[in-house]
């Protein structure tokens, strides 16, 4: 059974970047499809993008095109999400999750709180 453990919360200034990690264990890293989502305070979920380590080419939501980078490190079985040009609207809980058949998500990481504030 795969487990996903995310990095600790971050506070960033507007205009800066943040990089969140998602370390996996328990299943073959190549079998996973690591998906990134976020949940703003009191809001629902927003899909950001995904990457299948076996392919290595990410897919991004159009909303984030140009300032989002999703990557993997096969040597450490870890996925990464880096978001640039942060604004206060990017304040949210960020989650990684394993996607089954590009469809449903299970399990999820515990979440990483990102606060953007001057």
């Amino acid at each position: 059974q795969v487990q996903l453990v995310q990095s600790e919360g971050e506070v960033r200034q507007p205009g800066s970047s943040v990089k969140v990690s998602c370390k996996t264990s328990g299943d073959s890293f190549s079998d996973l499809i690591i998906t990134w989502l976020r949940q703003a305070p009191g809001q629902g979920f927003e899909w950001m993008g995904r990457i299948a380590p076996i392919i290595g080419i990410p897919t991004y939501a159009q909303t984030f095109q140009g300032r989002l980078t999703i990557s993997v490190d096969k040597s450490t079985n870890t996925g990464y999400m880096e978001l640039d040009s942060l604004t206060s609207d990017d304040t949210a809980m960020y989650y990684c999750a394993n996607s089954h058949d590009y469809n449903w998500l299970d399990p999820w990481g515990q979440g990483t709180q990102v606060i953007v504030s001057s």
């Binding site: 629902g44 995904r50 449903w104």
Partner: protein, 110 residues
């Protein structure tokens, strides 16, 4: 593009049965699978139904899912409600590569 609409909140008593709806606007509910997630306070979401009506391992049989083409909606039914079922529930589907979520329904077990 389509949207998924859920009621903002539902409430029911322990031991009763509750149904949460998820209505698709744009396209047929049967076009793509619907999945359901439970999110307890300050916790990550957990899948409780996938592919319309399948239960992930470890999810009690009290949880069931269905779709209804006549109302173009999916439903999550929880029987024998327990206080631990009090949570936010989200439906989710997909379009091409994009995942689409409903706005969430707060279930209160009175």
């Amino acid at each position: 593009n389509f949207m998924l609409t859920q009621p903002h909140s539902v409430s029911e008593s322990p031991g009763k049965t509750v149904t949460i709806s998820c209505t698709r606007s744009g396209g047929s509910i049967a076009d793509t699978y619907v999945n359901w997630y439970q999110q307890r306070p300050a916790s990550a979401p957990k899948a409780v139904i996938y592919e319309d009506n399948q239960r992930p391992s470890g999810v009690p049989h009290r949880f069931s899912g269905s779709i209804d083409s006549s109302s173009n909606s999916a439903s999550l039914t929880i029987a024998g409600l327990q206080t631990e079922d009090e949570a936010l529930y989200y439906c989710q589907s997909y379009e091409n590569t994009r995942l689409i979520f409903g706005g969430g329904t707060k279930l209160t077990v009175l």
